[in-house]
Amino acid sequence: MLIDDYDPLKKRMLQVLDQEGKVVNPSLEPVLDPDVLMRAYRTMVLARQIDDKAVILQRQGRLGAYPPNRGQEAASLGPAMAIGKDDWLVWAFRELAGLLWKGLDPLRLYLYWMGNEEGSHYPPGLKVLPAVIPVGSQLPIAVGMAYASMIRREGTVTLSYCGDGATSAGDFHEALNSAGTFRTPNVFVIQNNQWAISMPRNRQTAAPTLAQKAVAYGFPGIMVDGNDVLAMYMATQEAVGRARRGEGPTLIEAYTYRMGNHTTSDDAKKYRLEEELKEWEKRDPLVRLKAYLMNRGMLDERQEETILGEAKEETERIVVEAERFPRPTVDDVFKHTYAQMPRTLTEQLERCRRLEGGGR
């Protein structure tokens, strides 16, 4: 088992591909259909496009504060590739590539970041929770969801993400400790992107790895090269297998990097060195997967261009659709507070309607 070989206390990190896309450890190379690999690549390219465009839109005042994903595409995608349609995906706010894989229409994401609640209105059956802003608070929810699946003997799992910063939060602890106790089918992925706004990873905890936090909960942890989508896939696949077999939760630390600012309101130059970014740019997860596919003869320059072109088109489509999307009416902002609107709220709504109509 990978999780035995890569016990975090051994200070090893699971890696399948090196930056040139060469397989470091052939026995670990996943057996994936070429279609699947190509879809993974397309997803990463699309995620990168949507992400870059969001930053531009924000600068143009067409989208609100936005947290860039650049550099973390593999860390969110690999785990999503290892779950099925009936499994739940619980994200934080920087998991674009994983969401695309899971089937979320990126239009919803743009609507969300443009400040429309319709952006979190997902089709029934998608099995994705909306973005969670209070850091770490998605984790106890993910445990409850997994618990529900478990007692129904569904054999489904709940995959959740959080950041390195989130590991300091009480919610993280209570969730993982409870999951360990109940042996719920949870897979916990930490996107350790080295920063929580201006706080570097080593100011977040004195533990040398985040994966070893699993020791506190009595279940396995594993540290994975988060810029290596195959490694992330392999680790998650094993964790998902354990969960499905009733062996309980697993903690996966994806060692990655936030190449952009924390959000578009942030300026990372204030607190981190340019060189660090330069180093990590060399480890770009997209470049690594591309190199692997090229090495395997599955991708050439021309195809690459087509894929990029398609991603750009798709991005343009969602920009247009999102900007055309109807804005919330006064009824919309009131209507979903309760299943049935209580009388006081109806009165408040009526007054608002009256005021907006120019009345008093």
Binding site: P134, S137, Y147, E174, D332
Partner: protein
């Protein structure tokens, strides 16, 4: 029809609902083998098994968060918090998720959960075991807050809360758990949320309360009745949404009102009721509304209780003062 105290009535409500709906689960500290520190969940573990009667680690944030997750994934969780004094740990989850998931997703998802807890004073308890901070929850849009005052009410309101599609905070008056018994139908029944209960009719003055204050109010109202003051008594029952319509129409009839609130004064439910009376029935008022509340201090330990708690005498005073204004 059996004569039950509130603990047994609640236990019966659980039994019935868990029989009826396999998605109902109970979770919290010591709710299983121990049956809960007040024995409300006694026997449920044996009847419904450990999957559905879940003894949790000591972690209130996880209890609330897990309940949200269970509710989102097809269950109807009823979480127990051991005392209201520990429920503050759940506020972030209740405010940020339980109360908002419906609006956040434009009704794509919702959170049918109940969070129950004993609240209130008068049982000579330790620090943090006597608190009445219900307004913390009442302030939160998207939550419902329910407070039963008698065994039968407790059963009907708990069943409604469990069946409600929205998150309900269900506050059980510790002092009333075993204070009184009444006849309670064996079978399941519901009492609608959001409707106050008319306890007694009278034309002279409106007296509003809820939860543990109701028995005190009834005493006081009995005494002033002997002096010829006829009270219109309302048990608010649901603090959110608040049935101010019932209060306003009573005040329009009587022109006078006393509100009895166990909690400290500042920004409590009584203040909100007064604001609504001001807005909707000011011209009917023949006297300032009076609130009988706790002072804005920390609940004293048992030896100081006597200086703090509301007594029937204090309520009586207030009623007479307002009636004779």
């Amino acid at each position: 029809m059996a004569v039950l105290n509130m603990v047994s009535a609640l236990n019966q409500a659980f039994g019935g609902e868990m029989e009826r709906d396999p998605s109902v689960v109970v979770l919290g500290e010591d709710v299983g083998r121990d049956g809960g520190v007040f024995r409300v969940t006694e026997g449920l573990l044996d009847r419904f098994g450990a999957d559905r009667v879940v003894d949790t680690p000591l972690a209130e944030m996880a209890i609330a968060g897990m309940a949200v997750g269970m509710a989102l994934n097809g269950l109807r969780p009823v979480a127990e918090i051991q005392f209201m004094g520990f429920s503050y740990l759940t506020l972030s989850t209740m405010i940020s998720h339980a109360s908002r998931m419906r609006n956040r997703t434009r009704s794509g998802m919702h959170v049918p959960m109940v969070m129950r807890m004993p609240y209130g004073a008068g049982v000579k308890a330790l620090e943090h075991h006597s608190e009445s901070m219900e307004a913390l929850f009442v302030q939160v849009p998207g939550l419902k807050v329910v407070v039963p005052s008698t065994p039968r009410e407790a059963k009907g309101l708990l069943i409604s809360s469990i069946r409600d599609p929205d998150p309900v905070v269900f506050l059980e008056p510790t002092r009333s758990y075993r204070l009184m018994k009444e006849e309670v139908e064996e079978e399941s029944f519901t009492i609608p949320l959001g409707e106050a209960r008319q306890v007694r009719e009278g034309d002279d003055i409106t007296v509003v309360g809820w939860g543990a204050m109701m028995p005190l109010i009834e005493k006081a109202v009995g005494s002033v009745g002997k002096k010829g003051i006829e009270c219109d008594v309302l048990d608010l029952r649901t603090l959110s949404p608040m049935d101010s319509t019932a209060v306003l129409s009573s005040v329009r009839k009587t022109g006078r009102c006393v509100i009895v609130q166990e909690a400290p004064r500042n920004c409590g439910v009584a203040a909100e009721l007064i604001a609504r009376i001001n807005e909707g029935a000011l011209l009917s008022l023949e006297a300032p509304v009076e609130r009988v509340t706790a002072p804005d201090i920390v609940v004293p330990l048992p030896q100081g209780e006597g200086h703090y708690y509301i007594t029937p005498g204090r309520i009586e005073n207030a009623i007479e003062r307002v009636a004779n204004f």
